[in-house]
Symmetry: D2
Subunit: 340 residues, 4 copies
Amino acid sequence: MKHEIDLKHYQIRTDLAIDTINEKTKGIKVKTTTLDDIKITNVVIEPEGSNIIKKKEGNYITIEFKDVTDTHNKEKVREVFSNELKKLLEICGIKEDDSCLIIGLGNAKSTPDALGPLSINNVLVTNHLFEYGDVIDGYRRTFAITPGVMGQTGIETSNIIISVIKEIRPHFIIVIDALASQSIERVNRTIQMTDTGIQPGSGVGNSRKEISKDVLNVPVIAIGVPTVVDAVTIVSDTFNYMYQHFSYMKEKINDPANKLKTNINYLNETIDVKTEDKESLMGMVGNLKEEEIKQLIFEVLTPIGYNLMVTPKEIDFIVDKLSDVIGNGIDYALHKNIVK
Amino acid sequence: MKHEIDLKHYQIRTDLAIDTINEKTKGIKVKTTTLDDIKITNVVIEPEGSNIIKKKEGNYITIEFKDVTDTHNKEKVREVFSNELKKLLEICGIKEDDSCLIIGLGNAKSTPDALGPLSINNVLVTNHLFEYGDVIDGYRRTFAITPGVMGQTGIETSNIIISVIKEIRPHFIIVIDALASQSIERVNRTIQMTDTGIQPGSGVGNSRKEISKDVLNVPVIAIGVPTVVDAVTIVSDTFNYMYQHFSYMKEKINDPANKLKTNINYLNETIDVKTEDKESLMGMVGNLKEEEIKQLIFEVLTPIGYNLMVTPKEIDFIVDKLSDVIGNGIDYALHKNIVK
Amino acid sequence: MKHEIDLKHYQIRTDLAIDTINEKTKGIKVKTTTLDDIKITNVVIEPEGSNIIKKKEGNYITIEFKDVTDTHNKEKVREVFSNELKKLLEICGIKEDDSCLIIGLGNAKSTPDALGPLSINNVLVTNHLFEYGDVIDGYRRTFAITPGVMGQTGIETSNIIISVIKEIRPHFIIVIDALASQSIERVNRTIQMTDTGIQPGSGVGNSRKEISKDVLNVPVIAIGVPTVVDAVTIVSDTFNYMYQHFSYMKEKINDPANKLKTNINYLNETIDVKTEDKESLMGMVGNLKEEEIKQLIFEVLTPIGYNLMVTPKEIDFIVDKLSDVIGNGIDYALHKNIVK
Amino acid sequence: MKHEIDLKHYQIRTDLAIDTINEKTKGIKVKTTTLDDIKITNVVIEPEGSNIIKKKEGNYITIEFKDVTDTHNKEKVREVFSNELKKLLEICGIKEDDSCLIIGLGNAKSTPDALGPLSINNVLVTNHLFEYGDVIDGYRRTFAITPGVMGQTGIETSNIIISVIKEIRPHFIIVIDALASQSIERVNRTIQMTDTGIQPGSGVGNSRKEISKDVLNVPVIAIGVPTVVDAVTIVSDTFNYMYQHFSYMKEKINDPANKLKTNINYLNETIDVKTEDKESLMGMVGNLKEEEIKQLIFEVLTPIGYNLMVTPKEIDFIVDKLSDVIGNGIDYALHKNIVK
């Protein structure tokens, strides 16, 4: 029966390491810290682990938080982000006066893709001040570029970046990019940092030239925030919520204790979804594995020809706040004498 | 079993008349014209039809098109839109020198909701020129306001509008708004005009005071373009596509003629989806009616607390073009002496 | 000879009280405080003084500062501004839970005129939250509007404002506007607050309806920042600098002590410009009084038909920072429970 | 007496060839055409002329017009600009399918300096479409970049440009930049094109690396529009207007024929300003040559430390229209199959 649906291999790309890592794998070390409601996950992928999960070896730091539109919370996230970035700079062996090129990837004219360029607006650029002899102690040389996207420039973004790097020869590179997520709940609520570099555009289905230490011979730190999920993700996530909702309802609805409750929320409970529940709720589809479901949804949506993305209604406002966090957070991590 | 899921009444609001109209209903007249690949649907709802479908009596004109990011096509859409608006002005008894207040509803800071304010940027405002004695023949007096949304002003938008109308007493009103759609395929590809007025915010779940001739005693023409679908729509649309895809595959996949075809596209065929197919594919869910499915998805997504919207990736670019079409189209319809 | 030039009455408008006030006048009280390099001038014009200098009686507070593009300095200016505004609210008898309408005057599409609308973007709007029952203690009801300018709306701005006020009936009003200055040195370096209200557009030569307690029966606090000087001011200021420069040079240039100095700066010295120096430097023009010179420049520039303004090159950047100061400063003054 | 003022050499930079060219000079050929109220000046500077006026040999085309905020006039200016650019491409030996890199110089965040980046937004970029195999006949390969300014990137703009050029190796280059003007009347009313290249930032006092055929070995066409004059220019222009006004008044004011006239306008008359008039009006200053006056104003304004620019109030609106003219004009000149 399954064969009636042609399940050729399909895998949604995502740029969040946390989505693909299993901490029980050999050669993968995971450490989790919590600070109020901010969760920090440090993942180190060693060569052995790298081979197993097909992800580059290196450090992956993920910061998960609730809401940066709250001023107080935003400030806390900025601080955590800044501290984690500082630690990663140390791990990478960056020295206090090493010069840094900061690159804001993405399309400034498309809100969810504008995180990189907007963050660059908030970043302190100092190199030209050094040239003029203006800079006080405690600041390093920084450069910043927003190379645009291929649709605007006609040029492979990596090519612009690599030619600028050759010209200015920075000691290390920070790249900021908006990512796609494989989970609705992570959108705009996660910052990922890694020293393994980035492939511009890899989240949207194009495999481009890599920006990484392997290619450029200087450390490359990539900072990403998922700002969109695609339509396939929203549908398959909804399937999962439906299973949980169904299992929860089946169990609770006849419990007299619930008769007087309003707003029963299945998300607050740990729900064990049984296979037969899936099947009775969703028939044949209930029998498919998550990846097969995604493959099916992908096939079904492709002929509509729509390049759909799912974002919260407040995306313009949120991206604005996130670019504050990223831009200022980088400044505090890079320059030791910045006073708050 | 079905009762385990509490199906309290839920109905997604939509502002597109075309989504709810059945031309066989008594008291509803439908006329369709095609111009190249632009389709114009004129619907007149008479009192009898109004009672049956619970939609206000009046004229509803819908223009469906492919793509306004193509310059040539954009110009054709603008022309069709302008002509239809001119006809509607005549139907409403608007005279050549009647003054017009043009209102751009929505939040200029949120891309898919910015259609109204952006269109206003492209609209010719003349009233103050008349005051200065500057205006040449063939132009009427126009005013324009962008009242913002309640989240920006703290004020019910209708209240701002009504108080300004009392002050300037225009002969008629044009209101521009971004709408929600009940269908992915209509997003950014449809313009609707009606002389029945508008309820600001009605597409996003709030029932606000009406802007209409009934309330204001002057003709009100509402122009709307669907720029978003909500997450419920994308999931339920996907269910429908899955049924079609499944039925199509079941029938075609073993047909030897298809063995060599790539990109088999179920959308090009008329597919008769059988109830038993729905059930075997989707189990219990396959037994639900469309409205029940939407209700279920709505309930399941609500606890995630996310205010999700689905838009194409190019939304910033498309809304920009659409606001050109609307703004310039209004100018050509309102002022007889504008030379192209 | 003088009569060959027709000096009909011409007076450049300015909205800065500090430009026209002489503290020796009867019925005018002036108090100056200094906080680091921020200077605060409190002027009270009593009825007697009001008659003499033809300026409305009331309170005028002027804050003069160096530079808000420096983060540290910006924060200090914000604090001083916030405190002075709080005091003015008390003087006006505003109670803790009185509701406030905040109005951002000006054209958001023209950088130096965008201060009002940009400040509104940074202001906390709460009224709708009260309606939803969401607001915590220590916040008052606030509303905000950006009524645009006549060139955008076709409507007298005062009329929009007055009709909205009638509708929502706030307890008091704060109006924010960009001003013209009569002095290059004040541009972007001064905030003025007054409880005497404002005439929208009065700085640019149009006399419009007043927004004031006299007209509206509720307290109106006007906050203004000069962001432009006009071409007449830049030329007449330059004349004055030329006199000072000339007198200074005549005296100093032959002083052997100056032989080794570079960058001799006449601005650091108190220079007594003699009438005969003016005359020998500038001939007939040197005999004219300041107002006559301005009249002459105005006449001479009028036929060029250019609507010129003078701003610093960094105006976009500075207005952005100033709108942060104004927007956040208002929040801190209005809501007692905002935590920094 | 004059020597008391130290007149060290000072020369305001300007990027408009037309401001410095004298058609009687040997080795300079000037041809002027008029089309309605658009004036086109073609200047060829030959080696001999180049030596005399210290300006690079090559072609300089200047288009002077009245107003691009008028839709009809804007379209005419675009057409003239497009045709002149086409001719210049021919003169430079550009072939139909030569690839072109279009560079928008300037700071997108500062309105009068944003002409370059804004024009790039309106320019058709095709190279990536060729890569995908999408392009139809009659289009050439185009690339576009907006390298930002040194204050944003920390990098010498020329260095970014040169490294990108090395990477993509276009057949020729078009550079768009906002210029400073030495005359109020030219601001926003002139387009200059030249095949002699450009020095990024040369109009604002910095001498940077040249972008020219000499350096890059491919043709470089520079397109510039003056969008600002500096404060020195506005003051010295006013001095000249004062002389004219004074001479005119002296002659006309006692003429009985003028008694009934209002709005006497000295600009409509050819006025012969006598040296003694200058002296009696302006004393010592009236004796200075234009360059000496500019030097004096420059010295006098320098200590104020202000980076002042003079622009019309409508600059945001005008730059928007001008970038349409430049962007679309380039498209029509570059791609033969674009249909209007």
